[in-house]
Amino acid sequence: MKLGKGIFLVLVLFLSVAVFGSTIKLALVAPFTGLGSILGDYIKKGALLAVDEINAAGGINGDTIELAVYDDAANPSTAANVIRRALFQDNAVAIFGPNMSSSVIGVHPLAQQAKTPMLVGATSPSFRYTVIPNDYLFRLRADDGVKVDNLVKYAVEVLGIENPGVIYGSTDYCLAAYEVAKKKFAEYGIDIAAAEQIKEGEKDATGQITKLKNAGIDGLVGLTHESEAAVSVNQMRQYQVDVPIIGFSAWGVPAFTDLAGDSAVGVYSVQGFNPIDPDPAVVEFVEKYEAKWDGEEPSDPAQAYYDGIYLIADAIAAVGTDGAALAEYLADGAEIVGVQGELKCDEHHNFTNVSLISQFDGKDWVIIDKIF
């Protein structure tokens, strides 16, 4: 019995080597189940679009890309399972994701151990290369250090906010942004008048807004996820706290404006991506994405991982599939023009620092400024 099984296993192994010899296996780790699974779909669709385009154009030097998708349930503990699977069982050439900062900080040593590049869309500044020098870890989007800096800068210099209030969530995404905002406001010599927390899933912010109102804020900085953003803005309007509102990247997406409806009009946001951006690369990407996925509009993570696949394709075409060589090439030589503009690894191992300041007009996010 055992011998038979062993022979069978060996056969399967040989067969798979024979059949998949000409494919390049890439792994994508993103959330698809549970409450935190909002972004998984965008990530997968963005990455798949790029994979299909590259394969349709003949692959990388004739080899086709195979994208294996894994669910991490937005849970770092699950991410630690599936990253090991991708690296040590499925032997992926490169890993995309996880998309959650705490997951990235937890599992990045595995990429180093397996000498496999890991390209992530998580945005916390806490794993910049200058903080965590992992040669195999790269970021596909602007990090929050950049985005929140730009947000605060706009709030102070353009909107003239001197007594800011902050409403923030309880995930690492929100807290990291809050830390950066505190620091940046302090640089301007401004104290945050009141900072209130709204937990993910809360639907009443009356207490929080009462306190913000009583603190006499002249502007609200929103550092929450989409649903809580909608709750906060609705109730700001309901209790007639008429101050400018400027939100973080989760506020600059349809998921927020759909939920908030008219309340969202006039809200500012710092975005990593805007579907009405007239940049030809963005226009082309939006068209292709909508054509492939039944008219669905892409979002920030979709373009980031789309760019990421092209980056790794460029690197594999240049130096092959050896992990160490890939990482070295990504850090020094890789330079492509993607949806987010020019992509080149900087000292933080970020490929881009692009962000946009936009204002919602009831239908679209009107771009005020695009900062590279």
Partner: protein, 295 residues
């Protein structure tokens, strides 16, 4: 200052009423079979998603509402037929039912994610827009909550009539006390059980449709904090008193807002859960359960 306090009482009571509505589902099931359906909150999510599906087919409010509630009732029957009865027949106890329904909760949550995606959706403004409000002096109440209060009032009257003026109430209580004896007394225990399953899922399904403008049509309706808070309200009502359940939910909501206002928005849930544990230890029969002796 006084205005702030009043405003926070009103909005806290409103969000708390939504907890109470969800808690009603727990009470209806407990009344007859003394079991807790941990997938109780899934009915709310299913109700909301079914409603927007029918509404999206241009069936109009009334038909969409009737169809979704009917399907949810059917689901309640299925729950009894395919989960509760098989477990009972094979000698499974309370914990088996608990775990089965917990898994059911995971199942529905992920089924909805597969079918509709995980992005929260806006609810059609059939109950008014979320920013519409009525002002009483300087206190503002969202129109959405007025609707909820209205429905709760109707439900309370219906429940009162059903439980006190008809035989159903008596058979509920009889079945809860002793299934065999109730059956011997000529009470159709099967029918009573089915009815309580259907009532439990229906009331939560209706709650889901009502709450969707506030919670959005999202998976949070099927796995978020509201489920646990619904249980908490039911416990405050001693698991048997529907009116106490609503009152329990309202108090929980007000407590939460005051915790935010006077202590900390960060620790508000810690505070409300601690109070819940204390209440359970001091008065396990529920503090809003004034009829507990009779039942």
């Amino acid at each position: 200052m006084l205005q702030d306090i009043l405003q926070n009482i009103i909005s806290g009571a409103s969000i708390g009423a939504t907890y109470g509505l969800v808690g009603l589902g727990v009470v209806f099931l407990w009344l007859t079979i003394s079991r807790i359906n941990f997938a109780n909150i899934s009915s709310a999510m299913l109700g909301a998603y079914l409603f927007i599906t029918f509404y999206g087919m241009n069936l109009g409010f009334f038909l969409s509402f009737v169809f979704s509630v009917a399907l949810i009732a059917l689901y309640g029957l299925g729950l009894r037929q395919f989960i509760y009865e098989p477990i009972r027949k094979r000698g499974g106890g309370r914990l088996e039912f608990v775990v089965a329904t917990l898994m059911l909760c995971t199942f529905w949550l992920n089924l909805i994610i597969v079918a509709y995606g995980a992005l929260p959706r806006p609810f059609p403004p059939v109950f008014g827009k979320s920013t519409d409000f009525v002002s009483i002096g300087s206190i503002k109440i969202s129109v959405l909550y007025l609707n909820i209060y209205f429905v709760i009032a109707i439900l309370m009257v219906l429940i009162y009539i059903l439980l006190n003026k008809t035989l159903i109430g008596k058979s509920f209580r009889a079945a809860a006390q002793n299934r065999e004896a109730a059956a011997l007394m000529g009470i159709n225990v099967k029918f009573t059980t089915s009815l309580s399953f259907m009532m439990a899922t229906c009331v939560v399904g209706i709650a889901g449709i009502l709450l969707a403008p506030i919670y959005f049509v999202s998976v949070e309706l099927g796995g978020g904090a509201i489920g646990v808070k619904g249980f908490a309200s039911a416990v405050l009502g001693g698991l048997t008193n529907p009116y106490g359940t609503i009152l329990g939910g309202v108090c929980l909501g007000v407590l939460e807002n005051f915790s935010t206002l006077y202590i900390s928005s960060t620790y508000k849930d810690v505070i409300s859960f601690s109070v819940l544990i204390l209440v359970l230890i001091i008065k396990p029969s529920g503090i809003f359960n004034w009829k507990s002796k009779r039942v």
